[in-house]
């Protein structure tokens, strides 16, 4: 059961030129104290069929995280265009935002990205070699969310100033299986 839940992901640059940086404002709930930082990553998937061309655009640590509603702005550079197979540049790709705690990923949010030229003429007759400056990308608003059950702090971490009896350590078994998404509907 997750201590951190995303409330909202807001796009701060969408649509945008293909080579512009990605900017998101992420708002999340934290319902119990955390000892460590959260790690957030942004990945670019140009070819859904294979991992080979996946790119990690950026990652950052977020902390300290107080109990409550928190928000931060996450930005990441555009993908390295030389690493995208030329045939996969135009059309649909994906951008994936992941969050981890203690190196365990607990949520993965995917967005479709559509890439095309910024004018009708080039859209209809794409030039042979890619003109990067004229490309625009647009992320689909609808997120696809997958949540994973992970081991948070050993369950003794919340301070219990009022509890007269000491709390023994109560580690929750780490569940490697992803749990119900239920939310990744189309």
């Amino acid at each position: 059961m997750s201590i951190v839940t995303i409330r909202n992901v807001e796009f701060l640059s969408n649509p945008a030129p293909f080579q512009a940086e990605y900017r998101f404002r992420i708002t999340f709930d934290c319902i119990a104290p955390l000892k460590e930082d959260l790690e957030w990553k942004l990945l670019f998937v140009s070819s859904p069929a294979t991992e080979e061309y996946d790119q990690e655009l950026d990652d950052c640590m977020v902390g300290p995280v107080p109990v409550g509603v928190n928000s931060f702005e996450f930005s990441a550079p555009a993908p390295d265009r030389d690493r995208i197979p030329p045939g996969d540049v135009l059309g649909v790709a994906a951008v994936i935002l992941t969050a981890s705690y203690r190196e365990q990923e607990f949520v993965r949010v995917g967005y479709y990205q559509n890439t095309e030229y910024d004018n009708e003429e080039m859209k209809e007759n794409p030039p042979e070699s890619i003109v990067w400056d004229r490309l625009v990308r647009e992320l689909a608003e609808k997120p696809r969310v997958t949540r994973f059950s992970i081991k948070w702090d050993s369950e003794d971490s919340p301070p219990r100033p009022a509890s007269p009896s000491p709390m023994p350590v109560d580690p929750a078994p780490a569940d490697p299986m992803p749990v119900d998404t239920g939310l990744s509907e189309t």
Binding site: T27, D29, C60, P64, G68, S71, A162, P164, T181
Partner: protein, 910 residues
């Protein structure tokens, strides 16, 4: 009776994960098809106001439904699913609303208990899904503590505690206010699968696969009884063993019991006090999983008065034989038996607060609703009858320990953060708020580290306060409140009346108004509604309390600045912050409430109102903002910012002139006809409202409360004695006879006294917890450093001196605070200790003191010697004390001698 099975109440199967484990998994997850399989519903519970239903299922979700389309066929098209809560990672085995209706607790296979709170602004489309939540229930707290599945939960009367049980064989008691773990009860030897509270508040009952029901005392959490006989042959294969306590407190009905060496499946009815089970409910053809009492008491002969012999109750059973039965205890046969309505075992049952609707859920993934007519529930008594009847037990539950509350509120103090958006600000605003530049540093691993911006806390309404909540039971006939949300079903700080927005026709105000008018009509024709006598403000519709705002922050005592408006007086005690709404509930009478509303802006005057029987009994406009309120069965009092106090009778007459103090009040407490206030300048005033006199001239508390010592709690006893607990670990009272402050108790005694109750918690007097005993446990809680006792250098006579000193202090304290039971208990412990140590001199003095002049005759010499103490006959106490001595090794002769003397004296008197 009407039976319905709303097919739309369902939990659907988990989405299968076809994980292309690598990176694009999130995108490749196939869309789940709409015809997912129905999965088991493990638990069902209806909100105290009858409007919402919570269910927990195998799909790891908690779902909240509107009951309107179930109960009213004409409302079929109104919204059904109000909220889906998907934060558990395992099946949800139990869902329970608090009695106040403010919180929902859920327990899961994932070992976690979640507390959910309603965020009034939190509804709407759920980020990352296609679901739209009409109501924004949000996770408030996550309670880890169990090591395995949490199978059952129960809120105690008044929500003082939350109890949870699980497959780790554990029973855990949580504080119902702070939600901190209070006690772990580890005596069951097998999975624990059911829990319920005594409606009186004295006991907790749990049922386990170790084939026992255990009864735990709530005053020291010791085991009162272990009942095994009915369960000797009970199978261990059931999902649950949910049990229930009858509303009159007299019986527990336990599930999964067996008669005839395991050939007959029954529910066992266990009697209070004897804890014997002579009655069984026989008829089910397989194991009974769950028992649930109707929350109302029933009268065998409805016209006769409410006496023990005239009371019966109604209990529902759900079984693995797919059948639900409902029994009235005055009859040997069930009232109804519902067969063939479920295809698999019945796993949970829940009654609505009005006692007319029974909800059942089954492992076949469906729920069933039994809606009874008032006539079918023959003899059903109003909730007030139960409250009245339970007073017979004369049990006072342990009050909320004040230090705990203090710490909790401190722990929740927000960390400073520049732009503070209140939780009412929706996060996803159309026009995004401007954010300050975020602070970016470099993390240990070399990555950049962003400090998140703190936006708001997770609590969406006011926390239930210790003083208000115990009487904050749900409203009578709560089910109508959903049809008339602005009627008068309100109580202490609880906003149960958050209307289900969608019921108002999606914002079509005219439509909503029309509906409201119809509902008012329906409401006023409700049977049994008393005709209203005219009162000042009685016809006004009480506005709901949406959010309590802090108008002016508390005035702190730090540095002793002069008080506002009173420059000459230094502030020694913090003046509480001025809130837009405050209230005080009358403990003796359910739903009676004294409340004040301070204007947020402008010139509006402050209003005070007393509400009884859901009607405004009186209202008044005040010249200054209200800081504190209190009310008792005799009077209501309000302390104002301008350092004055107004005292009203319950009918709104000012029964005292406006009292002017030297500084604004920091505490205001009432008990019976005594009123106490402590001003910010640390002056203590106590008045007897009945005799219209001060109990003693106002006195200063100053010497005791210089920093760092502060007041943790202040209360007044029914005899007018103040009781003030300081953070230095000392409790004081004022003795008017001695014209001085006296020490009632102090944490120091815990460092050596055997009789210290806070530490040992082996209070032999289990029936009720006295004021001193409660105080001692508060002091123990305060003294967090548990090693301190061990670190004390033991001097030779340390233990004996401290024990005797402690007990002698306790005897004086019991006298000052008027607690005869504790006086007697302390006296007997004292006698035992003296006997143990063999202090003959002390023993003789004590005996003489209790005996008085040997040939004393009543009516003579009363000036010299008083034959009673706190209403107890000293000679009766003498008998007990001398018999303790007589049985001891060292003082046997002395004790026997006095026993003889007493016998002779008794003969002489005849």
């Amino acid at each position: 009776m009407r039976f319905t099975k709303p097919s739309w109440v369902s939990h659907k199967g988990r989405t299968p994960m076809h994980a292309r484990a690598p990176i694009a998994a999130a995108l490749l997850t196939p869309s789940p098809d709409a015809n997912q399989k129905r999965v088991s519903i493990f638990s069902i519970h209806v909100h105290p106001d009858g409007s919402r239903l919570a269910t927990g299922g195998l799909d790891a979700k908690v779902r909240i439904w509107s009951t309107l389309p179930i109960l009213r066929s004409e409302a079929e098209d109104s919204p059904k699913s109000l909220c889906t809560l998907g934060m558990h990672s395992g099946p949800v085995l139990t869902v329970r609303w608090s009695h106040s209706g403010k919180w929902l607790a859920s327990g899961s296979d994932d070992t976690i208990i979640m507390i959910w709170d309603l965020d009034p602004t939190g509804g709407g489309k759920v980020w990352g899904s296609d679901e739209t939540n009409i109501e924004g229930w949000k996770a408030l707290r996550r309670l880890p503590g169990h090591e395995s599945d949490v199978t059952d939960l129960a809120w105690s009367p008044g929500d003082r505690y939350l109890a949870s049980v699980g497959l780790d064989s554990r029973v855990i008691v949580w504080c119902g206010y702070s939600l901190n773990l209070l006690r772990r009860l580890d005596l069951h030897q097998g999975f624990v699968k059911g829990v319920c509270w005594d409606p009186v508040g004295q006991f907790l009952a749990t049922q386990s696969d170790d084939k026992s029901v255990k009864i735990w005392r709530t005053d020291d959490w010791g085991v009162e009884a272990t009942i095994t006989k009915p369960f000797e042959d009970s199978p261990g294969s059931t999902f649950f063993r949910r049990l229930s306590w009858s509303p009159d407190g007299a019986h527990i009905t336990a599930s999964n019991a067996m008669n005839n060496n395991g050939y007959v499946f029954v529910a066992a009815v266990i009697s209070r006090q004897t804890w014997a089970s002579d009655i069984s409910l026989v008829g089910h053809e397989n194991t009974v999983e769950v028992a649930a009492y109707n929350p109302h008491i029933f009268l065998r002969r409805p016209k006769d008065p409410i006496t023990t012999s005239n009371i019966c109750s109604v209990v529902a059973l759900g079984s693995d034989d797919l059948t639900v039965s409902v029994w009235q205890t005055k009859s040997a046969r069930p009232l109804i038996v519902a067969k063939d309505v479920f295809e698999r075992a019945i796993l949970d049952l829940g009654w609505s607060f009005d006692g007319l609707t029974l909800y059942a859920c089954s492992s076949d993934g469906t729920i069933g609703v039994f809606d009874f007519d008032q006539e079918e529930m023959e003899g059903i008594a109003p909730r007030s009858a139960q409250v009245e009847y339970l007073k017979m037990f004369n049990f006072t539950p342990a009050p909320m320990p004040t230090p705990l509350l203090e710490r909790v509120s401190q722990a929740r103090t927000p960390p400073p953060s520049p732009p503070h958006f209140s939780s009412s600000t929706p996060v996803s605003l159309a026009a995004p708020p401007t954010y300050p530049p975020q602070s970016v540093t470099v993390a240990k691993n070399g990555k950049r580290r962003i400090k998140p911006l703190f936006i708001s806390h997770l609590s969406y309404g006011p926390l239930p306060s210790a003083s208000a909540a115990p009487s904050a039971a749900p409203p009578l006939f709560g089910s109508i409140s959903m049809f008339a949300p602005n009627e008068d079903h309100h109580h202490a700080e609880l906003d149960m009346t958050v209307p289900i927005t969608a019921l108002n026709g999606g914002g079509d105000d005219r439509k909503a108004e029309k509906r409201k008018a119809e509902e008012d009509e329906a409401g006023s024709s409700w049977p049994g509604r008393p005709t209203k006598a005219r009162t000042l403000g009685g016809d006004r519709v009480r506005e709901s309390v949406n959010q309590v705002k802090e108008l002016r922050s508390r005035v702190s005592a730090v540095g002793f600045p002069p008080a506002p408006n009173h420059p000459s007086t230094a502030i020694a005690i913090d003046i509480p912050s001025i809130k837009s709404y405050l209230c005080s509930a009358l403990e003796e009478k359910d739903g009676d409430l004294f409340e004040a509303r301070n204007p947020e802006v402008g010139e509006d005057p402050t209003e005070v109102m007393f509400i009884s029987a859901k009607q405004t009994q009186f209202l008044d406009y005040l010249p200054a903002a209200a800081i504190l309120l209190t009310c008792t069965s005799v009077f209501c009092a309000v302390a104002m910012e301008d350092a004055s106090i107004i005292v009203y009778s319950l009918n709104g007459r000012r029964i005292m002139p406006t009292l002017m103090l030297d500084a604004p009040s920091a505490y205001l407490e009432g008990s019976k006809h005594f009123l106490m206030t402590i001003t910010s300048s640390a002056r203590v005033y106590v008045w007897n409202i009945k005799s219209q006199k001060a109990a003693f001239p106002s006195v200063h508390l100053d010497p005791f409360i210089r920093a760092p010592s502060s007041i943790l709690s202040a209360q007044i006893r029914p005899n007018g004695a103040p009781l003030i607990l300081l953070s230095s670990g000392v409790a004081y009272s004022f003795d008017p006879a001695l014209s001085t402050w006296v020490r009632i108790s102090e944490a120091r005694w815990s460092e050596g006294s055997d009789a210290w109750e806070g530490k040992h918690r082996t209070n032999k007097n289990s029936s009720s917890r006295g004021v001193i005993s409660t105080l001692e446990s508060a002091l123990s809680d305060l003294n967090m450093d548990s090693d301190s006792a061990a670190n004390v250098i033991k001097y030779r006579w340390w233990n004996a001196a401290l024990t005797l000193g402690h007990l002698e202090t306790k005897l004086h304290a019991a006298k000052v605070l008027d607690s005869p039971t504790e006086y007697r208990a302390a006296l007997l412990s004292y006698a035992k200790k003296i006997a143990e140590e063999g202090f003959k001199g002390k023993a003789e003095e004590l005996l003489k003191d209790l005996c008085g002049p040997l040939y004393w005759k009543p009516s003579k010499d009363e000036q010299v010697w008083c034959p009673t103490v706190l209403g107890l006959q000293k000679r009766d106490l003498l008998k007990e004390v001398s018999s303790i001595f007589a049985k001891s090794k060292t003082l046997a002769k002395l004790g026997q001698g006095w026993q003889d003397t007493l016998r002779k004296a008794a003969l002489d008197e005849f």
